[in-house]
């Protein structure tokens, strides 16, 4: 009997062990990245420099930095260091398998649900996360979708075991500015129906905003009285208070030129601190956007023109045209499983008018500034978070390899299910023989 127990234990151990050994863990501590070309984004490029990481932060950058005795040294000869890329609009972590509604957590029921937080639904263990972060995309704003106020978007880092560990200190409610045009070839509504629906949605949006303002005033008045009374519980209104008070910027998704114009008028009239997102026809309203000083998140760059009579490359050129007009422009993929293509979206924007330097900013320091986290992310500076990646060259080129990724000082293993499948199947064993 004892023999059988031993045998069973032996078998079980052998079954269990390989499972535990499958995923490499991230590594933390003091790191010295030496002999590197350090592309700081905000302070030029340091040749043959050293970057020290300690306690999750960039401790120092320079050419004559002393290497701490406790540092793990990574020789970066011939390599370049960049700040982690920020995808300013995606669904990563909110969706696992696109066609399966049970794995889609970005669209809750209801037209006015700003209190629904994407941070709550992010799955830290999504298989999509390692697949994408090994390309140097370290951070993303994850977006809800649906009605007029579909929820709260959150900025997350692509590492951590809980949403709080992933949270990157920015969240904002999203307003889908009502669309006045036809939404696509599948949109079979009559012109009249479209017009009526749009008018109804616009008045609903304004009414909700004004109600939230009133709610915030009541809240302030009750607070001033100081007897502990609170307004009646309306989670939607509660969620909107910081935004109607102007304490935090709101995200406004808007795309068609006519809608952009109306949205500018609305946010100016109501003194709303807004970030426009989408903005696929921003090039048609570039001067107005610049004049209004509204920052923009646009993309995907790799998309077709919004109208059949526009230039074939209009979507490639859009970001650059806005940036040249003086608009602060960040880029998004709008994707989930392939936000790893963010550098290629930036590359196309670069090639079609934006230029390489500005396109790099549009996926690093510009989104960091728009989200108010530029004291932590978006460039390589002493005192910022050690969220960065190390490459063999220009990250926009597909011939470039990523050699290391650090998120909040964690040295991320460069493996994912996709790399493991490669390792297993490049030379499959057995081959065709049985």
């Amino acid at each position: 009997m004892r023999k059988i127990v031993y045998l069973l234990v032996f078998v079980l151990l052998n079954l269990v062990q390989p499972v535990f050994g499958q995923n490499a863990k991230a590594d933390y501590g003091v790191f010295a990245l030496t002999n590197a070309e350090i592309v700081t984004v905000t302070n030029g490029t340091v040749q043959n420099g050293t970057l020290i990481i300690r306690d999750g932060m960039i401790e120092s950058i320079g050419t004559s930095v002393e290497i701490p005795s406790d540092a793990k040294v990574i020789d970066c000869s011939g390599l370049q260091i960049y700040p982690g890329m920020i995808d300013a609009g995606s669904r990563i972590g909110l969706i696992e398998v696109g066609s399966d509604a049970r794995t889609r957590d970005y669209n809750e029921i209801g037209d006015v649900i700003p209190q629904m937080k994407t941070l709550t639904a992010v799955n830290p263990n999504s298989a999509l996360i390692p697949v994408n972060r090994v390309s140097g995309v370290t951070t993303s704003l994850i977006m809800p979708s649906g009605g007029i106020f579909p929820g709260t978007a959150s900025l997350i880092n692509l590492h951590g075991y809980t949403p709080d560990q992933m949270y990157a200190d920015f969240e904002s409610i999203l307003i889908n500015f009502p669309v006045t045009g036809r939404r696509g070839r599948w949109d079979r509504r009559s012109d009249d129906e479209i017009k009526k629906q749009a008018e109804k949605n616009i008045s609903e949006m304004k009414e909700v905003w004004n109600s939230a303002k009133a709610y915030a005033r009541i809240d302030s008045a009750l607070k001033a009285e100081g007897n502990g009374e609170r307004p009646d519980y309306y989670p939607e209104m509660e969620a909107m208070m910081p935004y109607v008070r102007g304490e935090k910027p709101v995200l406004v998704e808007v795309n068609a030129a006519k809608d952009i114009k109306a949205a500018i008028a609305w946010v100016e009239e109501n003194d709303i601190d807004a970030i426009f997102i989408g903005v696929s026809e921003g090039w048609r309203m570039a001067d107005e956007l610049a004049k209004a000083g509204i920052p923009v998140i646009t993309g995907p760059v790799l998309s077709t023109p919004t109208r059949s009579y526009d230039n074939y490359d209009q979507a490639y050129a859009n970001a650059g045209m806005m940036q040249k007009a003086g608009v602060q422009v960040a880029l998004r993929t709008g994707d989930a499983e392939n936000i790893r293509n963010l550098p290629y979206n930036a590359g196309f924007a670069a090639a079609y008018g934006m230029g390489r330097e500005e396109a790099l900013k549009a996926i690093t320091i510009v989104p960091a500034r728009i989200f108010g986290v530029d004291d932590q992310l978006g460039s390589l500076e002493e005192g910022k978070k050690a969220t960065l990646f190390i490459t063999t060259g220009d990250p926009f080129e597909t011939s470039t390899d990523v050699r290391h990724v650090f998120i909040d000082g964690w040295n991320i293993p460069l493996e994912s299910r996709q790399t493991k499948l490669y390792d297993e199947f490049l030379e499959r064993s057995p081959g065709v023989e049985k």
């Binding site: 696509g184 995907p300 919004t306």
Partner: protein, 451 residues
């Protein structure tokens, strides 16, 4: 003017229209870096196209009178890109009314006015495979089209002489449409196999009945009558005869393996798998069969059957000896196939030469047109794309696209509105919002899934 003369003139003008639409051109593209694909890279080289064919590749070539001159100094010249899986230039995609619809043909639904054709040209793509959709286990025959944007005659798009192809489909799409949507076989991957075996068996009986009739009908005393003509079985019989190349929508390794077994049993050899996301798992079997693979660069996770995919698919297949191409299945992606191919430099370290083959000679092999296109060689069709930089660089901009010696896209001369017949009723406020996952493989089946 008498009636006869009028008719003659009318006829003559009609012929003129036809002749003009199929016209070929003369052009010399000078002093570029020429990526021949099959014969290496040639610096400072001219490519001369006469009457729509590549007549000479060399230095300091003399151009015939009247030939267009294009200075490609500092630029890169490559064969026109070929997309083995697309749905642009057709007005209908799925005849989703039966698990087997071998009687239909996308060539009957060509739409030369589709502005997507111009957008594809602006990405250097000169040929695409206008595939039937993936709703049916056996879909329709599909047309290989040349991007002769500017013609208004649908049949001018067809690439004359290209072999016949047919769309097959495995997995979730046919089971969802027929088993799920219409409550008929196939609902499972078992059912999909049964559909093929039934169809091939019926096709074989039909073929044998006709073969028997044709062999004997002129013989004295033969009393047999001709079998009843059946367009669906005609097509299936032609597959069995080896006259049609199967292009099969597929994802999972098991279903890919299944179709190879079915084809072996019926002696079918011309087999190309489309998407084939898990092809890398059965790469040795694909290579042994001689089946080819037309894949996405990195699409995955949009449905369960592509959850266990890898962007290294093209590289693994290539390293295992499978003739592999990268396709678009999308009016967006077709505009930057050169960039999609370039991703194989990252995912699996393919060489530049191998990466370029994925969008040129390899898709040409899959469509059975590699004797005509897919590389820059004397005698081949004058289909050429010129890029501002090496086409695998992110900074490369397609600048000139030539089909049969005729310039169909020139970035220097590119008016915004390239519609051929603007629809006067089109609402100009129409905005095609960004649709995540815009593939059209399941277009025309939406009615089955409306709630």
């Amino acid at each position: 003017m008498n009636m006869k003369l009028l008719l003659t003139l009318l006829f003559a003008s009609l012929t003129l229209v036809v002749a003009k639409a199929q016209e070929t051109g003369d052009i010399i593209i000078r002093n570029g870096t020429v990526l021949t694909i099959t014969n290496g890279t040639l610096e400072n080289t001219d490519v001369l196209i006469r009457d729509g064919k590549i007549s000479k590749i060399g230095t300091d070539l003399k151009a015939p009178n009247g030939a267009k001159e294009y200075d490609a100094t500092g630029k890169f010249v490559m064969p026109g890109i070929i997309d083995a899986h697309s749905h642009i230039g057709i007005d209908a995609v799925n005849e989703a009314t039966s698990p087997v619809t071998a009687e239909v043909f996308t060539g009957d639904a060509l739409d030369p006015l589709d502005v997507s054709i111009y957008r594809a040209l602006a990405g250097g793509v000169t040929i695409s495979h206008a595939l039937h959709g993936s709703a049916n286990a056996i879909g329709g025959e599909s047309e290989t089209i040349k991007h002769r944007y500017g013609t208004v005659n649908p049949s001018d798009l067809a690439m004359e002489g290209a072999p016949r192809t047919i769309k097959f489909a495995l997995g979730e799409n046919p089971t969802r449409v027929h088993g799920g949507g219409s409550n008929i076989v196939p609902r499972t991957r078992m059912g999909v196999e049964a559909v093929f075996r039934n169809a091939f068996s019926e096709g074989r009986e039909y073929m044998e009945a006709w073969d028997e009739y044709n062999a004997n009908k002129d013989k004295k005393g033969y009393t047999g009558i001709a079998p009843e003509y059946n367009r669906r079985l005609e097509t299936i019989a032609d597959i069995l005869r080896g006259d049609i190349i199967i292009h099969c929508h597929s994802y999972r390794a098991d279903e890919i393996y299944m179709l190879m077994q079915v084809c072996k049993d019926f002696g079918v050899k011309k087999l190309v798998f489309q998407h084939v996301n898990e092809g890398f798992k059965v790469a040795p079997e694909l290579a042994e069969f001689g089946a080819m693979a037309s894949v996405f660069s990195d699409w995955w996770a949009y449905k369960f059957e592509v959850y266990y995919s890898t962007a290294y698919n093209a590289a693994i297949l290539t390293r295992n000896g499978v003739v592999t191409s990268i396709n678009s299945d999308s009016g967006e992606l077709i505009r930057h196939l050169y960039h999609e191919a370039a991703k194989t430099l990252k995912y699996g370290d393919l060489s530049e030469e191998e990466a370029l083959k994925l969008i040129t000679i390899n898709p040409a092999k899959q469509l059975g047109i590699d004797d005509r296109v897919g590389s820059l060689e004397e005698g081949k069709d004058g289909d050429v794309a010129v890029f501002s930089a090496h086409p695998l660089s992110i900074y490369a901009i397609p600048e000139l696209t030539v089909v049969d010696g005729i310039v169909r896209f020139d970035r220097e001369n590119d008016p915004a509105d390239m519609r051929i017949y603007p629809d006067p009723e089109e609402d100009i406020e129409v905005i095609l919002s960004h649709e995540h996952r815009s593939d059209r493989c399941m277009q025309d089946t939406e009615f089955l899934f409306q709630q």
